[in-house]
């Protein structure tokens, strides 16, 4: 097991502002899991950072790849 959280899944979800978002599931070193939704800009940035163009390629990537672009959140 790695010593930092990793992405273990990503699904397309509906954001509250009507845009498609990514619902990313993280697994922590202690086995705990958490989910976070990121918007299109952050989602594409994540895929670009990971060098993938398919969601399945995100599995196993370190959570830090999410940081770039993660500041852009949907408005309420």
């Amino acid at each position: 097991m790695r010593d930092e959280a990793v992405i273990v899944g990503a699904e397309i979800a509906a954001g509250h502002d009507g845009a498609a978002e990514l619902l990313v599931t993280l697994r922590y070193p202690n086995g705990g899991r958490a989910q976070v939704a990121i918007d299109a800009e952050a989602g594409f940035a994540l895929m670009r950072n990971c060098g993938v163009s398919d969601l399945s390629g995100l599995e196993g990537q370190p959570w830090r790849r999410m940081l770039e672009g993660a500041e852009t959140c949907s408005m309420s």
Binding site: A10, E11, I12, A13, A14, G15, H16, D17, G18, A19, A20, E21, L22, L23, A34, Q35, V36, A37, I38, A40, G43, F44, M47, S53, D54, L55, E71, T72, C73, S74, M75, S76
Partner: protein
């Protein structure tokens, strides 16, 4: 002599009591009598076969700007709403110094998607303080308004540019407290804050720079004023953070004796534990004596996109992702290259996208091809003798890529799961966002949808429970003592509707904003009449020239 007598209806009085037949008499803007009452009246409304209920209350809207030229907050009023709460999510239009207007306009445009003309042509800026905004809005109100004041604008008033740069000093916090007191004195029903929102440049709004001590000090003022509301937008995209905010709100509630509410709370079948976990934490905090009301909307969430911008809708189609995230010129070149398009279509499999794209609906809008609006891609593709994926690309190209497609009910969509949550005694039905996101989807008709989907279709709530949720319960949560019940002496906010048909109309695009700006709306269905403070504001499918709305708290 009564002003109005509503006769022969089934009275659902907002308390949750069983419906009973009777009349409702109104005099001087107040309920005069309910039940077996007769007498002369200047106006009689025949409600035979219909439900007579208190006017509905919407606790989460962004009508702050629209109210300056449209005192009915159309089409909110025709859906039976008689009281709205604007000023949510840390943003209100007062207090606001003239020098800071453009900055706050940018924030509002980010939320509301109003065209620039709405801020330059539709009204005259004639206020800076909260009392001035109230005066500007109050002169033509048809709907009641219970406004929040935004934490971000309070911060901006006191700190200027630094409001989006740093924490406040103790002197600045004291100045914010004084300003909040002035706003409450001028009619604000509470304070709104946000831990999520951004401005038009992607920067966090001012409230997000506040430390806990600042929010604590402002909540102390809400406590001084008899316990006014704190509304907050938590980090709803991560349930663990939302739960942490629930705990924080609970501390503020207990410490200052105030109610708090957070919005939105969504259900997700993809993350089915999220909403139940948040609700469980709310239950724990209520058991401690705190008041932390989660707001949940009734309507499902649709996904909308066009090929003008990359959408994660295509995130499982690598070739589409590569093509669509190119700059516009390169994207157009790819989409007009026969070989590339053939491969893109082939990626959808043997059905050519029927399963994934066939159900998409072409939306109305500025450049929408009218012959296709409201129809499914499957139907249109058949008509064009094309596969759905190819039709999507071609229709987009034929219209400069500016064609929006809608994938309905892709989130917060499980009636079976959401019904019991809405019926939960600690769930506050709200979060409509009325007046916001106007160019993305319609935020109107959530109350109609409550009755059509969760009362009639699913039976998750009785008629009386549903009415209570959006009338007396909302009034009690917000301390609106005069609203929410059909009882003698209360304000005569009344809606007459057919419980067999009440619902929401289809979403449609209209161009009725200043500058002919576009927005999506839904018409009311099954609403016969809406009275605000005793005057008929909407009836027979038309707005009356009533100006009976007030600021209420």
């Amino acid at each position: 002599m009564f002003d109005v007598l509503i006769t022969g209806g089934r009275i659902v009085d907002g308390t949750g009591a069983t419906a009973r037949h009777g009349n409702v008499a109104i005099r001087g803007g107040r309920i005069a009598a309910v039940g077996d009452v007769t007498g002369e009246a200047a106006r009689t409304i025949d409600a035979a076969g219909k439900v007579v209920a208190p006017g509905f209350i919407d606790p989460h809207t962004h009508f702050d700007v629209q109210l300056l030229w449209d005192g009915a907050a159309r089409p909110a009023l025709e859906h039976g709403l008689t009281t709205i709460v604007p000023g949510n999510c840390s943003l209100s239009l007062a207090p606001l110094k003239a020098a800071d207007r453009s900055r706050v306009v940018g924030m509002f445009q980010q939320i509301e998607e109003m065209p620039p003309e709405a801020f330059t042509e539709a009204f005259e800026w004639c206020w800076e303080d909260f009392a001035g905004y109230r005066e500007a809005v109050a002169r033509h109100l048809s709907i009641n308004v219970a406004p929040l004041v935004g934490h971000s604008v309070i911060r901006l008033w006191v700190m200027g540019e630094a409001a989006q740069q740093r924490a406040a000093t103790s002197d600045e916090i004291a100045a914010m407290q004084d300003l909040l007191r002035a706003c409450l004195d001028a009619g604000a029903v509470g304070l709104s804050t946000s831990f999520v929102d951004i401005d038009e440049n992607g920067r966090p709004v001012p409230s997000r720079f506040a430390q806990f001590a600042e929010l604590d000090a402002l909540c102390a003022v809400l406590g001084e004023w008899g316990g006014r509301m704190l509304q907050c937008v938590p980090e709803f995209y991560a349930v663990d953070l939302t739960i942490a905010r629930i705990d924080q709100l609970a501390e503020l509630s207990l410490r200052h004796g105030i109610p708090t509410t957070f919005s939105p709370l969504f259900d997700s079948t993809q993350a089915p534990d999220n909403a139940p976990r948040a609700i469980a934490r709310v239950e724990e905090q209520f058991a401690r004596g705190a008041r932390v009301w989660p707001q949940m909307q009734t309507r499902p969430i649709d996904i909308s996109f066009s090929l003008l911008r990359p959408s994660l809708f295509f995130a499982r189609l690598p070739r589409w992702v590569r093509v669509l995230r190119q700059p516009l010129e390169a994207r157009l070149a790819s989409l007009t290259d026969p070989e590339t398009v053939e491969r893109m279509v082939a990626d959808l499999g043997p059905d050519g996208g029927e399963r994934m794209m066939g159900g998409l609906v072409v939306r109305g809008g500025d450049a929408a091809p009218q012959a296709y609006v409201g129809r499914t891609l499957s139907e249109i593709a058949r008509e064009r003798s094309q596969l759905p994926a190819r039709a999507l690309i071609d229709i987009s190209l034929e219209n400069g890529l500016d064609v929006a497609f809608l994938s309905a009910a892709q989130g917060h969509e499980s009636t079976e799961r959401i019904g019991p949550m809405l019926a939960h005694p600690l769930m506050h039905i709200g979060a409509s966002d009325g007046g916001a996101h106007i160019a993305s989807f319609a935020t109107y008709g959530d109350t109609g949808y409550l009755f059509s989907e969760f009362v009639r279709k699913a039976g998750a709530l009785t008629l009386e429970q549903a009415v209570r949720k959006i009338t007396s319960e909302t009034a009690d949560i917000w301390g609106l003592k005069d609203r929410g019940r059909l009882q003698p002496g209360k304000a005569a906010d009344v809606v007459v509707f057919d419980d067999r048909t009440i619902g929401r109309g289809e979403e449609r695009a209209v161009f009725d904003l200043p500058g002919e700006g576009m927005r999506y709306v839904r018409d009311a269905v099954g609403i016969d009449a809406v009275l605000v403070n005793g005057e008929v504001a909407w009836a027979g499918g038309r707005y009356a020239d009533a100006r009976s709305g007030v600021f209420c708290n």
